[in-house]
Symmetry: D2
Subunit: 240 residues, 4 copies
Amino acid sequence: MSENLSVTVWNEYRHERDSDEVAEVYPDGIHAAVAEGFEERGFETRTATLDDPEHGLSEGVLKDTDVLTWWGHRAHEEVSDHVVDRVVERVRDGMGLLVLHSGHYSKPFKRLMGTSCALKWREADEKERIWVVEPGHPIASGLPEHIEVPEAEMYGERFDVPAPDELVFTSWFEGGEVFRSGCCYNRGSGKVFYFRPGHETYPIYYRDDIRDVLANAAEWAAPSDGPEPFFGNADPLEDV
Amino acid sequence: MSENLSVTVWNEYRHERDSDEVAEVYPDGIHAAVAEGFEERGFETRTATLDDPEHGLSEGVLKDTDVLTWWGHRAHEEVSDHVVDRVVERVRDGMGLLVLHSGHYSKPFKRLMGTSCALKWREADEKERIWVVEPGHPIASGLPEHIEVPEAEMYGERFDVPAPDELVFTSWFEGGEVFRSGCCYNRGSGKVFYFRPGHETYPIYYRDDIRDVLANAAEWAAPSDGPEPFFGNADPLEDV
Amino acid sequence: MSENLSVTVWNEYRHERDSDEVAEVYPDGIHAAVAEGFEERGFETRTATLDDPEHGLSEGVLKDTDVLTWWGHRAHEEVSDHVVDRVVERVRDGMGLLVLHSGHYSKPFKRLMGTSCALKWREADEKERIWVVEPGHPIASGLPEHIEVPEAEMYGERFDVPAPDELVFTSWFEGGEVFRSGCCYNRGSGKVFYFRPGHETYPIYYRDDIRDVLANAAEWAAPSDGPEPFFGNADPLEDV
Amino acid sequence: MSENLSVTVWNEYRHERDSDEVAEVYPDGIHAAVAEGFEERGFETRTATLDDPEHGLSEGVLKDTDVLTWWGHRAHEEVSDHVVDRVVERVRDGMGLLVLHSGHYSKPFKRLMGTSCALKWREADEKERIWVVEPGHPIASGLPEHIEVPEAEMYGERFDVPAPDELVFTSWFEGGEVFRSGCCYNRGSGKVFYFRPGHETYPIYYRDDIRDVLANAAEWAAPSDGPEPFFGNADPLEDV
């Protein structure tokens, strides 16, 4: 199935160019590492970044995209509202959206959630254990009961999002917090998956298990072929 | 319980002043009819309208409001984004919001839902039957199995909202459509209830059963006294 | 995908043998009509009926079944608890279960829901219009906005089931009722879909659109390859 | 509100009579400690135990009970199916049910959930931190962001229950697990709340914060006054 799906991997791509520490982990950018995972798994993959024209997300690119992944961190405000409108509109029309880690504060995610999307965080190189709480969900396919990430940035509850339509993962942190780290949402005819792991200073997007989750999520979030609803003034179907 | 709750009834209040047909049904405005229902049931009630300064929704008013009801139709775009920010922020802090009928297209509701909130509609004086699908829900308290509205504007599915956290009512229409007409949402620490019935040309807000639903909804949506979450950089609770 | 999925179509198969009226509609049994739909769409299909040894649902058959469909009506009580245990256990292990029409009162469905599964009903040859309320759901793939069934038995709310994890369809009936007619549930590692249409006296299971829904539902409900959870006394993963 | 609610606290009451270690913690039984918390908060409270006639849960007692709490552990199988039928029936009619700790394996809870309700467990006197994930929920009223229990039995995911209708708490454990520890369900016209903390060897039910949670949960789960649905053969409401 995956070979027919077209994934666009979006990245802010600033940390990697400004910081030696980050460049050492992701020399070609986080998007290159994320895209490699999709390519290995047979998806048609392209990348786009903030500093590309139209952020790399023209009408044409979005039209050709089944699933968009989003990583941003410090430049959320530089993403143009016009492009955000376009992304959000395309999600409502059926495109899948995978929001990664610090993307929780991105404009498209906040717009689609309707909440602040705030959380607790800490950078302390601590252990994260990602538990599968819904083993029958397609996003958990092929996974063990938990994934251990030896060094992670902590995100802790309260995560200010609407209760997910389906909760697939919950994280445990060494420092004492928990987090709903794999959250599924339906918005319009599209699907959104928030996945917590990943930070610019940790090589998390090179891991096979993390890439498997993203590939599963892309298959889950891919557009389906349902009816396009008519909205507006409608004639009666029965005598009134 | 209700006597301690403070309800602010917000109304666009334009149709009633411009149209004789509407003024005949709601001579003092829709807000007056909605407010009367709350007063009768012991709530502390005030009203506010679009053309009041700050649309009647100053910081002070919102701070003193437990539950805000919202009716708007043709002037959604005239509501200032600044006031919308304030309303949305206050909902996330715990204020209840009851969105009435054509308020489905209001700025606060669309902002809190993250979707288009579009639907089918028709003005044909047709019958609506509002079925209780969740009889154990507090918003259904004291109601019969269904409420019949002899003449209503039709709203039909697809209603482009996130699947409600709890679905209390579903409507049947004479012309052949169905509609999820009583939808509960949690957003931040606040609660939102969308309730379909009511239109400027029908005397629906004078009905006791409709007023009972709104009173139940206000009690359900009232702020609770839960923890105010800390967001941001958090110290570990365990040794890392 | 479907060609790899194995579907077992279970039928009570009593009405068809006892009633000329029913035999005229389903001369080879309801199971034959349902199975034909799956075969046409490339599924590996077998049938089983109440009066087969072990109701046709031996350990071996269930082990080889990805998705089981269930139609029963007047002989629910004759299904042995032993076989019901086996079916329910297999669902929790990942098998999909599609419960059809009067199967709402079957033992496996009631056991998996935990509620009475009661409803209103009426046989009056009336029109049903099945609305898609979640157009992005895979079970709605390829469908129009609504399906019209000219003559149906009515099922009306309150349908006493837990609120579905996902609600795909809602029905409108000529006689004035509504019904949540396409309900998705997760139970253990398995998935359950309840689909309302279909009655022994109407040729509904010959329709292409109804067969499409069942095929979509079978793909949605098929077992995934998630972790098999360990239950019981567990060693700590960290020093305690 | 609470002064009008009648709570029945049910306890297996075996450990406390057989084990000196347990008797030291709960000399009058776990039910006495749980009941004391409700009494202090103004509820009308009574207790019932396994070895009472009809387990203390006659028709009359259940009829007079708004909310039933359930603690059992090693004698689940000794609870008569007849009484379980009665309890389950009463929940569906509107009675609230609070299921405590090892009650996850009780007959009424398993019956109402439709799943195995299995989990991981460990007795290692380890720390539990119960996080509020839904601060706007009435069950979180008056609580801090998290509750710390210094010594607890561990329960870990996968918890094999249906995804809760509302998830209020998630626990962190010292040994590396997480657990959905406060789960709300609607079943029929009744409400069920599962609350994890509490074990026969820890004085958890004497804590004010734990008692506050139980009191909040009782108010949330109390019967409402919704319509009693008619089930069965129904006349049409419109001409057919």
